[in-house]
C-alpha cells in the first residue's frame, strides 16, 4: 500500500516538475558567438520569401556578400510578416530582448523605443562612411531622429502621385489637371458620364488621409501639418478646415468611389486595376504594378500615367514639386547588443548595397540617391527619380509623424470625413483636442 502511495506521489511530482521545466526552457540568453567561433549578429526583418520575394533576395544576397568579406561574422536572420513583426518587436522590447539589428518605421513608431533607451544612435555610421555621408535624399534620415540623433537608417522612400488611366481621360477629352479647379472639372466630366473619378480605400484611413494631406499642403503651405504636430500651428487653422471642406465638396460631387468608407486600400485598388475608376492617389510602392510586375498585363501598364497633385488657387502651397510621402522602413541597432560595432558596420553596408540594388531588383525607391544613367529602368521610374531630384519638399505622412494615439484618431476621423459622418469643423476640433491632451 505504501509503495503505491509513493508511486502516486512520485508521479505527481514528476508531472509538476515537467510542467515547471517546460515553462523555463525557452528563455536562454542570446549567445555571442556560434560554435565555429564566428561572431553572430541577429537580424530581424519583415520581407518573407513568399510575399516580398524581391526584397528577400536582395537582403539574402547582401548578407552572403558581407559574410564572404568578413569571415568572422555570421548573420542570422529571423523573418516575419510586417504585422507579426510589429507585434513581436513590441514583445521583445518589453522584455529587453531586441535583435542586434532590426527594422523600424520612422517618427511616431521609433519614438517610444528611443525613449525606452533601447536603440543605439547611428550618426557615426553615416559620418564615418564616405559612401553614406551625402547619399541620403535630404530630409529622409531626419525622420528617424529624436533630439537631433539618428536612430534609424532609412531604406525606402515613398512619395505620392495621382495615377490615372490615360484611355479613360482621352475618351472624355480630358487632360491631366494642374490646378484644383481643373481637377474639379475633370471630376465633374467623369462623374456626369458615370465613370468613377477616383478610388480611395477610406476604411483604412491612411489612403484617404493622402487627399487630406495634399489639400492641406496646397492650401496651407508645405509645412503646415508638420507645424501642427510640433505645436507651432493650430489644427483649427482656417486652411486645414478648408482642406477638409474641399474633401467633402469632392464627395458631394461624386468625386470618389461609392461607399469608400467601407473599402480597404486593396478593395479600392481593385477599382483602378479593373479600369472601373479613372484615378488613384497612391504612393510609389505601387509602381511595379504599372511598370514591371509580371502579374499585370502590358496593355494595362501602357494606359497608366501619373500627375503631381494639383495646386490650389489662392493657396499658400504654390509649389507643385512639394510632395506628401515618407520613408518606409529603416534599420536600427539595439543599444544592448553585444556586437554593436559589427552590427553598425553591417547596417551601413546594407544601406549602401540596398540603394544600388533595390530600384532595379525590387522596384523600390531607396532613401539614397540613385544614379539613373547607369541603370536600365522603366521610363516611369526614371521620371519619378528625376522628380525626386527636383523635389522642393517631402512632407512626411501626418499619421507617421504623429503619436500612435493621434494617428489612430486621425484614421478614424478621415474615414468619417469621407463618409460625411463628421463636419469639417468637428474634424479639426477632435484632432485639436487629442493633440492638446497629449501636450499636457
Amino acid at each position: 500500500m505504501l509503495n503505491k502511495k509513493t508511486v502516486a506521489i512520485f508521479m505527481s511530482v514528476l508531472m509538476l516538475l515537467s510542467l515547471v521545466l517546460a515553462g523555463c526552457s525557452s528563455s536562454s540568453a542570446s549567445e555571442e558567438s556560434s560554435a565555429d567561433g564566428k561572431k553572430v549578429i541577429k537580424f530581424m526583418h519583415l520581407w518573407p520569401e513568399g510575399s516580398s520575394n524581391a526584397q528577400f533576395s536582395i537582403v539574402k544576397d547582401v548578407i552572403t556578400e558581407y559574410e564572404k568579406e568578413h569571415k568572422d561574422i555570421k548573420i542570422e536572420t529571423e523573418i516575419l510578416n510586417p504585422d507579426q513583426y510589429r507585434e513581436k518587436l513590441k514583445v521583445l522590447a518589453s522584455s529587453n530582448e531586441l535583435p542586434d539589428i532590426g527594422m523600424t518605421w520612422s517618427d511616431g513608431f521609433i519614438q517610444p523605443y528611443v525613449e525606452g533607451d533601447m536603440l543605439a544612435p547611428l550618426d557615426d555610421v553615416v559620418e564615418n562612411n564616405p559612401d553614406l555621408k551625402d547619399a541620403f535624399i535630404p530630409g529622409v534620415k531626419e525622420s528617424y531622429a529624436v533630439d537631433g540623433k539618428t536612430y534609424g537608417l532609412p531604406l525606402e522612400l515613398n512619395i505620392s502621385y495621382v495615377f490615372y488611366n490615360k484611355e479613360i481621360f482621352e475618351k472624355y477629352g480630358l487632360k491631366a489637371p494642374k490646378t484644383f479647379s481643373e481637377y474639379k472639372k475633370v471630376v465633374k466630366t467623369l462623374a456626369d458620364n458615370g465613370v468613377v473619378p477616383a478610388t480611395v480605400g477610406a476604411k483604412d484611413g491612411w489612403p484617404a488621409s493622402f487627399w487630406f494631406m495634399y489639400l492641406a499642403d496646397r492650401i496651407g503651405g508645405s509645412t503646415i501639418l508638420t507645424d501642427v504636430i510640433k505645436g507651432k500651428a493650430k489644427m483649427d487653422d482656417p486652411a486645414i478646415v478648408k482642406a477638409a471642406e474641399e474633401i467633402q465638396n469632392l464627395v458631394d460631387m461624386g468625386g470618389f468611389v461609392k461607399g469608400a468608407s467601407a473599402l480597404s486600400n486593396d478593395d479600392a485598388k481593385g477599382y483602378f486595376m479593373n479600369e472601373q475608376a479613372a484615378m488613384f492617389l497612391t504612393a510609389t510602392w505601387e509602381l511595379p504594378n504599372y511598370t514591371t510586375s509580371p502579374d499585370v498585363t502590358q496593355e494595362f501598364k501602357d494606359k497608366i500615367g501619373y500627375f503631381k497633385f494639383p495646386t490650389y488657387e489662392g493657396g499658400k502651397g504654390t509649389d507643385i514639386n512639394s510632395y506628401v510621402g515618407g520613408p518606409g522602413v529603416g534599420l536600427f541597432v539595439a543599444k544592448d547588443s553585444k556586437v554593436q560595432e559589427e552590427a553598425k558596420d553591417f547596417v551601413g553596408y546594407l544601406v549602401k548595397r540596398w540603394g544600388e540594388k533595390s530600384v532595379v531588383d525590387a522596384g523600390v525607391i531607396p532613401a539614397t540617391k540613385v544614379d539613373t544613367a547607369s541603370l536600365d529602368l522603366a521610363p516611369m521610374y526614371i521620371e519619378i527619380l528625376k522628380d525626386l531630384g527636383e523635389a522642393s519638399n517631402v512632407t512626411t505622412y501626418f499619421d507617421t509623424q504623429s503619436s500612435p494615439a493621434v494617428s489612430e484618431l486621425h484614421h478614424d476621423l478621415v474615414t468619417a470625413l469621407f463618409g460625411k459622418q463628421v463636419t469639417p469643423k468637428d474634424f479639426v476640433k477632435q484632432h485639436a483636442d487629442e493633440l492638446a491632451a497629449e501636450k499636457k
Binding site: 503505491k4 506521489i9 508531472m15 507585434e87 477610406a202 467601407a262 473599402l263
Partner: protein, 291 residues
Amino acid sequence: MKSVMSNKWVISLYVLPSLLLILLLIYIPIVLTGYYGLMDWNGIGKMKFIGLENYIELLKDTKFWQSAWHSLLLGLFSTLSLVGYLILSLILASKIKGANFLRKIYLIPMLLSSVAIGQLWAKIFDPSNGMLNRLLVLVGVDNPPLWLADSNIVLYALFFPIVWQYAGFYIIIFYAALKNVPEELIEAAKIDGATPIQISYKIKVPLIAGVIKVMVILAIVGSLKYFDLIFVLTGGGPNGASEVMASYMYKEAFSKYNFGYGSAIGFGLLIICIVATWIIQKLLNTKDVDY
C-alpha cells in the same frame, strides 16, 4: 488504492497540475489585466501607477458605452436568432429527408475561419461590385444601400454574417438535444392526437429547456466579447458606428499603445460579461421540466 485516493493531500496533488495551468493561463492574466488597468503604460516603456484614473475615465467614456450598447444589441440579436435555429432544428430532427445533408451544410460556416468569412462578406457587401448590390440593381433598386459604409445600417448589416457564422454550432447542439427526447413521449402524444406543432411546442421544447438556457448564455456572452468579423469587415467604423467593446479595447491597446487604458477596458468587459451571465441565470432560473 482507496486509501490513497481519500487522502486529501494526494487529491490536491493530482489536481495541482491542471489547477496551475488554469491559474497560469486564465486567473493570473485576469488579475494582471486589472492591475495593468491601474497603470499609465504604452506597452513598451516603464509603467506609471495612476490609481483608478483609467477606470474612472472608462465610466465617463461615451465611446466605451456606445460600443457596449452595440455589443448588447448584438447579444439581443443573437438571442433572437436562437428562435430561428430552434425551429430549423425541430424541422431537421423530425425525420425529414436529407436532414443529415442539410445539417452538414449549416455547419460549413463554422468550419471557415473568421477572416475568410470576413473576406467573403466584404465582397458581398461591396457598394458597387458586390453580389448583394448587383442583385438589388438587377431587380430595379436604383440606389441600393451602401451597407458597411452607412453608419445607420452598418451594425445591422454586420449582424447577418455573424449570425450565419454561428448557425451551424447552435443547430448541431439543438439537434443533438432534440434527438435525445424519448421517442415514447412523442408516440404517446401522437396517439392522443397532438399536431406536430403541439408536439414541438409542448413536449420537445420544454424537455430541452436546459440546453436552451445554456445556449442563451453562450449567445449573449459570446456576443458581448465578439471581435473577429467586425474587426475584419469594418474595423469598428465608419466613425465608430460598428465599434464593439472588444474592438475598442484592441484599438486602445494595440493601435494607440494605451496598454493601461486598454487593460481597463478589458477588465470592464469582463465585469459586464459576469454581470450579464448572472442576470441571465437569474432570469432563466426556472425548474427543469422532467416527464
